[in-house]
Symmetry: D3
Subunit: 62 residues, 6 copies
């Protein structure tokens, strides 16, 4: 705790995920004033037919 669950579109590289985990952890540590090892990040990578905004699937918007 803090526990962070991030849902985002699949297709990012492991390097992007590595960098995102580092930067998000730093942001939380420096603003919520907690230790880095307290911050856990869980990533759910979803596909375009598993996301909808405004009632329309993402895959139908491209």
């Amino acid at each position: 705790m803090p526990n962070v669950v991030i849902d985002f579109l699949e297709g990012r590289t492991i390097e992007q995920k590595r960098e995102m985990a580092k930067r998000v952890t730093d942001a939380i540590v420096e603003t919520l004033n907690c230790k880095p090892e307290a911050v856990q990040i869980i990533m759910h990578e979803v596909s375009k037919d598993q996301i909808a905004n405004g009632g329309v699937l993402r895959c139908d918007k491209d």
Copy 2:
């Protein structure tokens, strides 16, 4: 916001997901009085060995 996360058993067609996203968004817009584009739906499709009710895996109930 509103943000909707729906966990359901894998195996539905994209047409079912398309229709579900539309109908759930309409239901939320018309009852919670918000704009369609404000509603986000994220779908987690899980398998029968990842769901348990009453302590029994779904795959053990079929």
Copy 3:
């Protein structure tokens, strides 16, 4: 299952929540082809300083 978690801004009436639960359940039953009693809806009502879009708290946008 299907399990639905909806995060939305606090302040809706119980009547709105009652109607939303009914309409969302019907939408899921009729599109994902499952029984009404299988559908569970969990509501998280959050305040304007607990939501951010585009890096800005909702309470700072009003």
Copy 4:
């Protein structure tokens, strides 16, 4: 309800998941004083590049 979402590292056997579902359900039934069939467990199995602690991906710690 109670609804349990467990995120854990992929790679466990179905036997482990079967046993975990049973034991967690029993633990909740006996402590929160509810019926077994009321307890739902949803499992999200994630990979080592989808988890980070202390800003470091799990796959970079091995």
Copy 5:
């Protein structure tokens, strides 16, 4: 990780929550073969008008 999010009806005592956390952690440690300190449990206590099964709010079923 494993990360456990449990949504349940408000009104349980702190003693019940204490006992549940201990028993659920033991169940996960002994079945998923991980260390106790790796297991995190987050509890969301919701009210009867925030839960619906079969399209009906829990508060309307009592």
Copy 6:
């Protein structure tokens, strides 16, 4: 999408939450290469008797 749900201990100031939302959004935009307005952050603020690590409630560790 990306959608971020952060559970953390209650008690932070609105200024901390404002700054955290800004910094986390920037971190995600710059690493996952998406637009700021696409990033949604939902905060769940929990109390010490709603969190457990290693089977022990946080309120029992202080």
